[in-house]
């Protein structure tokens, strides 16, 4: 009994029947193929792009993206022997998901940006390389070269895993033309100090009279981060806390939260001083188009408005509730994801790049961020930078997200609270309902043992 001849892998003729379609596609693709030999090699054969290169991931869009590109170019010019491969991914959870996956998959970048508030979870998950003092010292990065608030906040069990690059607070942008007409500027053309609930609402109302549309804008739709930042700022001014014991206990103060939410609801739904419906881009576009006198956002959007050619100023978000002057903030840090094949040469290349970024703090600060690298932060060059240095105090009023495995910039924690706050500002939830929702969703997270 003999079987039929074993089937080899089907040769050409069977393929040709795919006929015209693949043929034409192949023709179209061939042109591209010949032009891009490198990606083909990388895609199919997994050839290392360039030995001795530094791969660097960040999440900077907007003006930050442009500044970071300048910094990268600066590094490339100064280090022609070290190819730099810089990758910019979409901000927030997707970025951290991708960073974690790449590290777990043993294909991490050499250097990556991480928010200070996200970094601890990465450390707990064993995804980051410890930065030993002797290695840092070799590149001139001693702890006392950094703003101590940011440096200390970045230590885990006394060990360093991250180099803080900046502090980035939530700030108040104002259109100087609109504010001038509304009589909100002083003789120097700066925004007159605003303190208290009524004063802030009044300033928005006067700006609204000038613009005919809104007093202020900030992102609400599809953007839980902005409502979260605003809420955290005001709530912290009431000395409110949300999490305790590393995120395992919820200590949300209903009375304080209600006060903040009622105020936000008054500004949006009731008095229509701020639009209840604007997404991040839309809020920026409306402010840039002069449809609002104020804009609440991170300082990083400075470049957008500079590019738009409008006249504007920036200042600390006012103290509305009279407690300590707190503003929501985070820090960008540079981290080295853990990798099995780390050797001394690679480590030094990476640290050299980190140092190079710090040395270009001026470029970074032009983009609005408050520098933590003291050799620059204490220099005249920074003091002369306007309006950037006008809110340098934010570094000392900064309130970071509370620790917890589900907390940090762009995290579930921020989504839970930001979504509920956004729903209040959009008029879909009452303050009470929002607090109940926050409490129930946070409890579920707090009960869950840390997965890292």
């Amino acid at each position: 009994m003999h079987g039929p001849p074993p089937a080899p892998r089907p040769p050409g003729p069977a393929l040709s029947r795919r006929g015209v379609l693949l043929g034409a596609l192949a023709g179209a693709g061939a042109a591209t193929l010949t032009g891009c030999a490198t990606p083909v090699g990388a895609g199919l054969l997994k050839t290392e792009a360039a030995p001795g290169a530094v791969e660097y991931w960040n999440l900077f869009g907007g003006g930050d993206g442009v500044r970071m590109q300048q910094i990268q170019d600066g590094f490339r010019r100064a280090n022609p022997g070290t190819p730099l491969k810089a990758i910019t991914l979409a901000w927030g959870d997707p970025y951290y998901t991708k960073l974690s996956l790449a590290t777990v998959g043993e294909e991490p970048p050499d250097v990556a940006v991480s928010h200070l508030t996200r970094m601890k979870t990465l450390v707990d998950a064993g995804l980051l390389q410890e930065l030993r003092p002797e290695d840092l010292a070799r590149h001139g990065m001693a702890p006392d070269n950094f703003n101590q608030r940011a440096w200390q906040a970045g230590l885990v069990d006394g060990r360093a895993y991250a180099i803080p690059l900046d502090t980035h607070p939530f700030v108040l942008f104002y259109n100087t033309d609109v504010c001038q007409q509304a009589g909100l500027l002083d003789s120097d053309g700066q925004l007159k100090p605003i303190t208290g609930e009524a004063a802030f609402a009044d300033a928005l109302a006067r700006a609204k009279q000038v613009t005919g549309q809104y007093g202020a804008t900030h992102g609400i739709n599809a953007d839980p981060a902005s409502p979260w930042r605003l809420f955290q700022t005001f709530y912290s001014q009431l000395e409110g806390e949300i999490l305790a014991d590393n995120g395992t206990r919820i200590v949300l103060d209903d009375a304080k939260a209600t006060r903040v939410l009622d105020y936000l609801r008054a500004l949006t739904v009731e008095q229509r001083l701020m639009p209840s419906a604007a997404d991040y881009q839309g809020a920026i576009a409306m402010f840039a188009a002069g449809q609002a006198g104020f804009h609440l956002n991170g300082e990083w959007e400075i470049s957008t408005f500079q590019t738009a050619g409008m006249s504007f100023g920036m200042t600390l978000l006012p103290n509305i509730f009279g407690g300590p002057h707190a503003v929501q903030a985070d820090s960008h840090t540079l981290v080295l994801p853990a990798r099995p094949d780390l050797d001394q040469a690679r480590l030094d290349r990476s640290l050299h790049f980190v140092r190079s970024v710090l040395d270009q703090s001026l470029t970074w600060a032009e983009g609005g961020h408050v520098p933590t690298w003291l050799p620059f932060a204490e220099s005249d060059a920074y003091r002369r930078l306007s309006p950037q240095s006008s809110y340098a105090a934010a570094a000392d009023t900064a309130v970071y997200d509370p620790p917890g495995w589900y907390s940090g910039s762009g995290s579930n924690f921020e989504n839970v609270i930001g979504s509920a706050v956004g729903a209040v500002e959009g008029g879909q939830l009452t303050a009470q309902a929002a607090i109940a929702q926050i409490r129930s969703q946070l409890s579920a997270l707090a009960r869950t043992p840390s997965p890292v």
Partner: protein
């Protein structure tokens, strides 16, 4: 074209008689059969069956995304947590709600358009183009375009509605509207596929039936009701089931356009799995949630099997 139609038609007109096969016949064909099946089965076991089983195992462990191995044994904890989690049930409901919003228009509109297109003499290519073109767009492109259209105050849709003197809803920003907006986008995006399925089904309706009924003086509406629709029953079952399953599996639109927001009102089952599995690193729990979700899809598929079986026995 002629061969195109004729070949599958044979299924009905000339069902291939099952080849006679005794035990020794089987052994003789066992080896070539294995060789023919090997490439597919190898990849199938490697990338579908294996991962599915691995996922099932993980659902009984506190597996972490960032830790190697399965982690601590969890028993049924993950399942108990999912079933007791309001977030999970909400995500399931959002998925079902999305399915309810998208399936009727996607089926009915596709049918109506196909019936209308059947009566068009010239330029049928244009209608195929208009309706099917969006289907070949990547979800990311669809999302970019519609995010722009939905942009409050500035977007096309908001401005159009405002121009008519009404107040445009906050399409993606209002929890009550976000899912509807995603559904509109999805109908626009995927209608073409069902449209073409119906066009194909219509070609199978024997012409002489129309002729006969025309002689009897039946108008177009009566023709559609008495001849076309009953004969399209099989196609309709297929379209409905494929549509329901596709809608239940929705992920891309939410992921790119709303990230499950605002206020989690568009978080679908798969987005929930993604959130807990990749954002929270809770792989084991995510596996349990996906297993529960799989059971839902399985139930729907079972309904389809039963329905097609019944239809086949009726024919």
């Amino acid at each position: 074209m002629a061969t195109t139609i004729s070949a599958p038609d044979q299924i009905r007109t000339e069902p291939g008689s099952p080849p006679s096969g005794g035990a020794d016949h089987r052994t003789r064909q066992g080896r070539p059969a294995l060789l023919f099946l090997a490439p597919f089965l190898a990849l199938y076991l490697l990338f579908i069956v294996g991962p599915a089983l691995y996922g099932l195992v993980m659902s009984f462990f506190h597996t972490s995304l960032v830790r190697p191995g399965l982690g601590e044994f969890a028993g049924l904890d993950n399942y108990a947590e999912a079933l007791g989690s309001s977030d999970f049930w909400w995500a399931l409901w959002h998925t079902v709600w999305f399915t309810i919003l998208t399936t009727p228009p996607l089926v009915v509109l596709a049918l109506v358009f196909a019936l209308l297109a059947e009566r068009v003499r010239r330029g049928r290519w244009f209608f195929r183009l208009a309706y099917f073109l969006p289907y070949v767009l990547p979800s990311a492109v669809v999302a970019l375009i519609w995010q722009w259209i939905y942009t409050p105050e500035l977007g096309l849709l908001s401005r159009t509605v405002d121009a008519f003197g009404a107040t445009a809803p906050n399409w993606l920003g209002d929890p009550n509207w976000a899912m509807v907006s995603l559904a509109i986008t999805t109908v626009w995006w995927t209608l073409g596929f069902n449209f073409v399925l119906y066009l194909a089904g219509l070609q199978d309706v024997p012409r002489d039936l129309y002729e006969a009924s025309a002689i009897d003086g039946a108008g177009p509406w009566q023709q559609i009701r008495r001849i076309t629709l009953p004969l399209l029953a099989r196609t309709t079952t297929l379209v409905v089931v494929l549509q329901v399953i596709a809608s239940l599996k929705v992920f891309d639109q939410m992921y790119i356009m709303t990230s499950g927001g605002p206020n989690f009102s568009t978080r679908s089952a798969l987005q929930y799995v993604f959130d807990v599995g990749f954002t929270d690193y809770r792989t084991g729990y995510a596996a349990a949630a996906s297993t529960l979700f799989f059971l839902l899809v399985l139930a729907v598929s079972a309904v389809w099997l039963v329905m097609t079986r019944r239809q086949e026995s009726e024919v």
